[in-house]
Amino acid sequence: MAGEGARPGGGASWLARLWRATGGHAAVQIARGMLTTIKHVPKRPVTVSYPEVKPELGSRWKGLHYLARYENGLERCVGCSLCALACPAHCITVVAAENRDDARFSPGERYARVYDIDELRCIFCGLCVLACPEDAIRMTRKYDFAYSTREQFVYHKEQLLERAPGAAEDPSAWGYD
């Protein structure tokens, strides 16, 4: 047939063409669409009413970092900077210093004198955790930290250390596995 497929319904019977031309087809489709939407009204909303209801976190949720210690209180971190190297967001700053017998922080030769993480830059990928040879940097399940200036988002070593003396919050209470 000439012109077949040139427009929708071109090769169809005259009845089907009339059906389309008079809007019957459109009316049926609209009715189907209306039925679809109304079916969703009685369904439960997927919204989590956040401040009142906390979301259910996955078992391996990656939240705020912390620096672990050994049983005897020594820091695990030896200041090797592998975490800073692995970090795709370049948010970790490590400055190492030598341990001395009268001032020993970690079992190895060196320790991290400065350990800063800019939590605004951090993408919470967990590559620092994977890179760490001493299993020093780990992640908690804490995600709800908010401040009013950028500087406050840079976590210093004192804030990151597990059971740190004088730390605002004990990271071990942040619910890590």
Binding site: I30, M34, T37, I38, H40, V41, P45, T47
Partner: protein, 347 residues
Amino acid sequence: MNPVLLAIIKAAVVVFFNLNLVALMVYLERKLVGRIQHRVGPNRAGPFGLLQPMADIVKLILKEDVTPRGADRWIYGLAPILAATLAFIGYAPIPFGPPGWQVADINVGLLYMLMISSLTVYGVMLGGWASNSKYSLLGALRSSAQMISYELGLAGAVVAVVMVSGTLDLRSIVDDFQAQGGLGWLPGWNIASPLLWPSFIVFSICAYAELNRVPFDLPEAEGELGAGFHTEYSSGRFAMFFMAEYAGLATMSALAVTLYFGGWSGLGWFDLDRLPAWLGWYSTIAPTVIFFTKQMVFMVGAIWVRATLPRMRYDQLMNLGWKVLIPVATANLVALALFEAASQRWF
């Protein structure tokens, strides 16, 4: 009672009622669309978020009222007032109850309604023109073309009702239903007559286009034109356009109920005289309750349509208006005229 005073009181009550209806509609729309999209909708202000419209309006009015540089100040200020006024006065000839329950009992009420709905294009057009913004202007141009095109279809559909009822008086149209009685258990509403079905379909489609509601909300196609004709409006002036939209929806729904769905007449299944004496007061307001229930069905239907249908393209809109709706309305009119003539000649 002084008739002028009575008219003023009636008008004030109806406008007050409609303003509250606008607030309720804004809330209902957000809530229902939310539920359709598996969201909860507003739930912060007041119980179930019921105070949300109040919070919205307070926020809007407290915002800075910006007038763009180069705007035609006088017309820029006039446009939202015109839009809101026209949206509210359109309700005047609607009979929402037995005789007396009406702001203005005019014998050409239908003509008045058509006139008001044609005039609403001015609020949109002047607002877009006076804003000195290309987006507003494009929105206004689309809007005026759309509203003028669909005005024809709307009038054509309404004339069919006039032909059946033989009057332009909205109260007489409703009384006409009641005089007809019912077809068995069906009430004798205009919609019961199959010859008026095409007219009703054309009327509903044109009403959506006339009100700039989805799927015909091209004048404010937010993806393409910013916010259309009210891009430059802020604060109380924007609130006026916003209210006008919902008040127009209320008026159109009321008109649809009056023309096709029996106005304030009920289904006739329950005799109100059988109510116990202590509920006697209910028989006084029952017709109005029935009327507003029907009106709400249409208004909620508009929300439902909004949550379902995508916006049409401009050429599709014009094709539908000129090549489908107006011919259908005209053909319906001719068929109805032939039927009426035949029924007078032979039956």
